[in-house]
């Protein structure tokens, strides 16, 4: 059984699908050896009993069901799968949401995804609560809260808890003991941004102004730059500039 659901189930009007041509104008129906209407032999057409052609249409609305035990529905399903109005998976990032308005409902998969995410959030939260207070503050700083050092532990925990719910994978990756260097690099980057020691010009983060040394285009690249041994001097400069802005003697 295939059940179609609308991405916007309240307002979506039905859509009408027809088999599509390929670039060369051949009609893809999924029938016959090659799947194209033009390649069907007369004998194949006779044997099929139900031949899909340009006039074949199927209306899809919210809750529409295709019964794959029904030979006609099963035959139609072959070409419907290729239609851009239909997403085979609700969360498939490759789906073009400008075209696709219906998806194939899969409650089992959705439940698995939700439960798995929820389990992960619980595990990451438990690990976070077990961290020493100093580490919690560092983690919050690395994730973009430069004021974490002056916050109470409960407020840091609340803030981290929200971050975990939003993005458990990112936080989980930083809880590992091996990630200490990365956490430190991220703190430097976030401080550098907060104190405007670095600035972005044409997409590139640079130390100082437009003439300054480039450190990367994305946060990930900047963190990588800070962690590299070869860039020690520039990172030293960066941390000194931050301290200067913070009012801490270098």
């Amino acid at each position: 059984m295939i059940v179609f659901r609308a991405f916007n189930s309240k307002n979506q009007m039905p859509v009408k699908l027809r088999p599509l041509e390929n670039r060369a104008g051949k009609l893809f129906t999924g029938q016959g050896e090659r799947g194209f209407y033009e390649y069907l032999t007369d004998q194949e057409k006779k044997d099929l009993g139900f031949v899909i052609d340009r006039e074949t249409t199927i209306v899809i609305n919210d809750g529409k069901v295709l019964d794959l035990d029904d030979p006609m529905d099963a035959a139609n399903w072959k070409w419907i799968q290729k239609h851009p109005y239909i997403a085979l998976d609700r969360y498939d990032p490759k789906v073009n949401k400008r075209d696709a308005v219906f998806f194939v409902d899969n409650p089992q998969k959705e439940a698995e995804m939700k439960v798995s995410r929820d389990k992960k959030i619980s595990t990451v939260k438990a690990s976070m609560y077990n961290l020493p207070t100093g580490k919690k503050a560092q983690l919050a700083q690395a994730l973009g809260n430069p004021g974490a050092t002056s916050m109470t532990v409960e407020r840091i925990e609340e803030w981290l808890s929200m971050q975990i719910e939003r993005n458990p994978d990112t936080v989980a990756a930083l809880l590992d003991a091996k990630s200490t260097a990365k956490v430190n690099a991220m703190i430097i980057l976030e401080d550098a941004k907060a104190y405007k020691v670095i600035s972005r010009h044409a997409g590139t983060w640079r130390i100082g102004g437009v003439e300054g040394a480039p450190i990367g285009n994305t946060d990930e690249e900047c963190v990588q730059f800070i962690m590299e041994k070869a860039n020690e001097e520039q990172v030293f400069l960066l941390t000194n500039l931050i301290k200067e802005k913070q009012g801490v003697p270098a």
Partner: protein
């Protein structure tokens, strides 16, 4: 510039237009009439369907300088679909339930029904809703129901209770002393929000070119004589206007808003300023019906007109605007010609014209009427513009050229379905930054810039309202 020039299109030559815009920027919006192939602009502001965002109107409410809202009667809920049941396992076909008024559980995709509602099935049998909806998962709500009948032997075939089957509200029933009653409202008001979009086009030209080249010749009547006027800036201006109107039409069709459902703009420039844009037509009609096609036939067009009329204010007497590219226009023309052939009766038919012993065959078909609903077809430049890229067929034709947008152009309580919202005096403005030599490149005097070349800036601010976002229809070609 006389007052007469401002009021008369007949006198507004291209050189004069440029001067006119400096004096009366609102006049500039009317230049859309120079480019009628930008169908959306033409059918809204070109026909005067343009409103100031600050104006008091029943059509819409201007919330602030960039946001406007309008309300519509939501579409009716004509039917509720059955979903796969969880309690007791999925209902299978080929069985019966409900004998002796026994209760049973069914699942629907929405929680639309209330207790005591009487629901009609596809086979015309009635069931009585005995319970509140129980939420099972997103899109699955279960109800306990029983057959609404006085015959204890009556049963219901499960064929009509399985996922995908539909049901509709037939009414409801309460005892006389009931202190409780529900009415399942068949319609709900919907509020839609739109945002103004800014289109800007800057262009500059070199002073040397301005001083040495004349690209346009315009003959105007002055003091009873024909006088030629040559100005390079004017040719540039005309081209720039065309480019500006193209950009604007692209925004009106393909634009996507930068503001989310909670009114938060998620795009900022480097200084942190919001970059606000509104939805174009395609985004606004995203939930409308659409269809792919490979070959066009008359039934297809007729079906669309009929389907659209069901979501329009009247069943007949509607006007539908179809805007498409040249491929779509070709397909439409061929169908119309085939239809026309059937009714050729006299040699003097408009399709056949004889002059000086030569025969000219053919006609341009741009409208069609079927059972009281009228379709008007307008080719839209943007669908064939080389920079409006899309997938191509084997012969290198853009698939976008075959896109057909059927727009409901009827009136809702006196309000046109498609309208443009603008800021008063800001719908179109131009600014000149003259170079050292002025616009013609050879005028000495005080300067405002040290640059030799001159430039002109055009800015327009506008938004589109499609009052009923569900009545439109899109027909398009896609490839596998």
């Amino acid at each position: 510039m006389t007052e007469n020039t401002l009021n008369s299109r007949a006198m507004a030559t291209i050189p004069e237009l440029a001067k006119t815009f400096n004096q009366a920027p609102n006049m500039a919006a009317k230049t859309i009439r120079l480019f009628p192939h930008n169908a959306l602009s033409f059918f809204t502001e070109g026909l005067g369907e343009i409103y100031d965002i600050n104006a008091k109107s029943d059509n819409f409410i201007g919330v602030n300088k960039r946001e406007y809202r309008w309300k519509i009667r939501g579409h009716r809920v004509p039917k509720v679909t059955f979903a796969t049941r969880s309690t007791g396992g999925a209902i299978t076909t080929g069985s019966t339930v409900g004998a002796n008024h026994q209760e049973f559980v069914v699942a629907f995709t929405t929680s639309y029904y209330n207790p005591n509602d009487i629901v009609k099935l596809e086979n015309q049998q009635l069931i009585f809703i005995d319970s509140e909806p129980r939420f099972i998962s997103e899109g699955v709500f279960e109800y306990t129901v029983s057959i609404n009948s006085n015959d204890p032997t009556e049963t219901i075939s499960t064929d009509y209770l399985v996922a995908g089957k539909t049901s509709g509200l037939n009414g409801n029933a309460y005892p006389e002393l009931s202190d409780k009653g529900y009415i399942s409202s068949a319609q709900a008001a919907e509020e839609h929000i739109g945002y103004l979009t800014k289109v800007r086009y800057d262009y500059s030209w070199s002073a040397d070119a301005a001083a040495t080249k004349f690209l346009i010749e315009d003959t105007v009547q002055m003091n009873g004589k024909s006088v030629k006027q040559n100005m390079i800036t004017d040719k540039l201006f005309l081209d720039a206007m065309e480019q500006y109107h193209y950009n604007k039409e692209m925004e009106l069709i393909y634009g996507r808003t930068t503001v989310d459902e909670r009114g938060r703009c998620w795009r900022q420039d480097k200084k942190g300023q919001d970059v606000v844009k509104g939805d174009g037509l395609l985004a606004q009609m995203h939930e409308s019906t659409k269809q792919t096609y490979t070959t066009m036939n008359i039934d297809l067009i007729e079906d669309i007109l009929m389907d659209m009329s069901l979501r329009m204010p009247k069943r007949t007497g509607n006007t539908i605007l179809l805007t498409t590219g040249m491929q779509g226009y070709k397909d439409f023309g061929r169908i119309m010609r085939a239809e026309h052939k059937g009714s050729w009766s006299m040699p003097s038919d408009k399709y056949v014209r004889t002059k000086n012993g030569k025969i000219e065959l053919g006609a341009e078909y741009n409208a069609f009427t079927f059972q009281g609903n009228r379709l008007i077809v307008v080719v839209n430049n943007v669908f064939d513009h080389p920079s409006n890229v899309s997938e191509m067929d084997e012969e290198g034709r853009f698939l976008e050229s075959s896109k057909m947008l059927f727009i409901d152009a009827s009136s809702y309580d006196g309000v046109k379905n498609i309208q443009m919202i603008a800021k008063d005096g800001r719908s179109f403005i131009t600014g000149d930054l003259d170079g050292v030599g002025g616009q013609d490149g050879k005028t000495s005097g005080k300067v405002a810039t040290s640059l030799d070349g001159s430039s002109k800036i055009m800015i327009g601010t506008m938004g589109l309202i499609l009052h009923n976002p569900y009545s439109s229809y899109m027909l398009e070609k896609k490839i596998v």
